[in-house]
């Protein structure tokens, strides 16, 4: 009976939500890079992309538009590699035309997410990362309602350094508190840009906002990821940044964040 309740998430060890009140701060980027970093350290990783109106992960992992198959235990996720160490399920896979807008109101989104979350045959995974759309609304409530039947380890919050962005993330922290989701930590993205011509560092979107926010709210600061054109270019082409630029400062920042995250997950 218990087996039946747990359903497709029965063999998933840790579930981590990637949240941000603000859009375009790099939730999908951080999700993708964390997944790749975790895979490099030998973990089996899954990504669930529930951004209905703007699913970006399929492009970032260069999986194109595969057909999603069904088996007895549900939808089979798409594997990005032969070893099946990185599984992806995106709402983008269910759309017929990539330019078609999903113009849905909340209740319909809630219903689809409900099915979507509980019907993927993940198999055995060390970590399942859930990439979410911006805000604190239907999608977030739906994901939580459905995942909580199983368990949610906590959430990683992504912000950029500006006050306009950390302001929205403060609201997301309140959302986590109200819904009883543990905050695993805060990542500051787009933190400083080093000019490739003269090595001058410009803080295009200010600096230090993520760390300040962590202090203010008593959360763990997981680290900051610089604004790196190589990172956004490799995501555009769906390349594995961690394989292509293992010496970059961005890579070491991401791998440190993933290590801290794993420690925090395993310490419970």
């Amino acid at each position: 009976m218990e087996q039946k309740n747990d359903g497709s998430l029965a063999q998933v060890r840790h579930v981590v939500l990637v949240l941000s009140g603000k859009g375009g701060v790099g939730k999908s980027t951080i999700t993708t890079e964390l997944a790749l970093a975790l895979r490099h350290s030998g973990k089996k990783v899954g990504i669930l992309d529930v951004d209905l109106c703007g699913p970006s992960i399929p492009r970032m992992l260069s999986v194109g538009r595969p057909e999603v198959h069904q088996c007895d235990s549900g939808w089979v996720p798409v594997y990005t590699d032969a070893q099946k160490s990185l599984a992806l399920m995106s709402i983008g896979f269910l759309m017929e035309d990539p330019d078609e807008a999903v113009v849905w109101r909340g209740p319909k989104k809630t219903a689809l997410i409900g099915q979507f979350v509980s019907d993927v045959a993940w198999g055995e995974l060390d970590v399942l990362l859930v990439d979410t759309p911006p805000g604190t609304s239907d999608e977030h409530l739906a994901v939580l309602e459905n995942l909580k039947k199983h368990k949610v380890d906590g959430a990683v919050l992504v912000t950029t350094p500006q006050a306009v962005s950390t302001g929205d993330v403060r609201r997301e922290i309140t959302f986590c508190k109200k819904t009883g989701v543990r905050i695993l930590g805060i990542v500051e993205n787009m933190s400083g840009f080093v000019c490739p011509h003269c090595s001058e560092c410009s803080n295009i979107f200010s600096k230090g906002g993520g760390e300040e926010l962590a202090k203010l709210t008593g959360s763990v600061f997981l680290g900051s990821v610089p604004l790196d054109p190589l990172l956004s270019a490799s995501l555009e082409e769906g390349k594995d940044f961690i394989e292509t630029f293992p010496d970059s400062a961005t890579f070491s920042a991401i791998s440190r964040i993933s290590q801290t995250l794993v420690q925090s997950l395993e310490s419970d």
Binding site: G54, V103, G106, P107, K109, S137, R171, T174, K178, P196
Partner: protein, 361 residues
């Protein structure tokens, strides 16, 4: 008027996420506050994704409606009648000459920054009355960008009074109804829609030359509602904001599809964060590289006007954090120059459209 926001907060706590209550009137009499509530006429099918839709012919009758708690309501036909608010909003906004929506499928591309600066620039002509409405219910950034954090909305005889930045620039946002910067608005769609309806119908906008509406990312409740509620008001069109990368353009194409679906004219596209000029060596870097040709190629493909490309400038973000207008702070920067050109195109579009409408009638 401190109590008014307390009443709002209290009412928002009363309701379940699936049920929305509109405050139809609030009155204060010594120590007694009387709040009249009215439930929103937007029932929700709570059953499943094959719901035929509450306004469809099949509402309440299809097989999937069996067992839905709202089946009877849908079957009664009450849900198919147009919302009376649409006509009320049409009436209310008939004294607003131009209505401009700022949209993007993608988050964080600069919708609020653009909306705020469009409003500032339009209001720099002191003979024009301008208002900025923020319908991003879960992530309202406009109060901070306009330097109005901590401001509260006041109730007057003719509705909610917006907050004024200048004599001719009014602002309304859900941020003004929250009591703390930590307050999260954890609302499902129907409740957000009710708020948007109130913003359009119950705010005392007065006579306006321009109403600029900033939206959240995506193509969902807020967008459908704003288009629906403005249905009888002849919206001038939408400005679409994007950044140069394909990851952003792929979401923006969806937004363009949305505009076509709901027959919302597109004024043009703005490419934001387009190239960064190093303040030290003056070389340009493409931080968000236009790998698929950027907005330029997308506009050519879809036959849309490109209004301009705004470069990345750290001073833009800083001005927003400080609640100041970048156009006043650094008026001689290349980014400010591009901004002014874009705003002029928007002005031209609106006045040409007004002439077209006049000629047509």
């Amino acid at each position: 008027m401190r109590c008014f926001s307390h009443v709002c907060t209290f009412v928002s706590r009363l309701t379940h996420p699936d049920c929305f209550l509109l405050m139809s009137s609030v009155s204060f009499n010594h120590n007694v506050v009387t709040v009249e509530l009215q439930s929103s006429g937007d029932p929700i099918c709570s059953k499943k994704s094959d719901c035929p839709g509450t306004s469809s012919e099949q509402a309440g009758k299809s097989a999937s409606c069996q067992g839905c708690p709202n089946q009877q309501l849908c079957a009664s036909g009450a849900t198919k009648a147009p919302d009376p608010a649409i006509a009320e909003i049409g009436e209310k906004l008939s004294v607003v000459k131009h209505k401009i929506l700022v949209l993007s499928g993608k988050g964080g591309v600069g919708k609020s920054t653009f909306s705020a600066h469009l409003a500032h620039a339009l209001a720099s002509d002191s003979t024009k009355e301008v208002a900025l409405l923020d319908v991003d219910i879960c992530g309202p950034s406009i109060p901070r960008i306009m330097g109005l954090e901590g401001e509260q909305v006041h109730q007057s005889g003719s509705g909610w009074s917006p907050v004024y930045v200048d004599d001719n620039l009014a602002v309304m946002s859900i941020g003004f109804l929250l009591s703390s910067p930590d307050d999260a608005v954890i609302w499902r769609g129907p409740k957000k829609n009710g708020m948007i309806k109130q913003f359009l119908r119950d705010v005392d906008w007065g006579e306006l030359d321009y109403l600029v509406i900033d939206t959240p990312p995506g193509t969902s409740d807020e967008h459908l509602s704003i288009v629906q509620y403005l249905g009888s008001t002849n919206v001038d069109g939408a400005v679409i904001i994007t950044t140069p990368q394909e990851v952003s353009l792929q979401d923006v194409r969806k937004e363009i599809r949305f505009c076509q679906k709901v027959k919302l004219p597109i004024i043009g596209v703005v490419e934001n964060m387009s190239g960064f000029v190093c303040p030290k060596c003056k070389n340009t870097s493409q931080i968000f590289a236009p790998t698929t040709g950027g907005a330029e190629k997308m506009c050519a493909d879809l036959n849309l006007p490109l209004l301009g490309k705004v470069p990345l400038d750290p001073r833009i973000g800083r001005s927003c954090d400080e609640g100041k207008s970048f156009l006043n702070e650094v008026p001689d920067s290349p980014a400010a120059e591009v901004y002014r050109r874009i705003v002029q195109s928007v002005r031209d579009y609106c006045s040409n459209r007004a002439t077209d409408v006049q000629n047509a009638t």
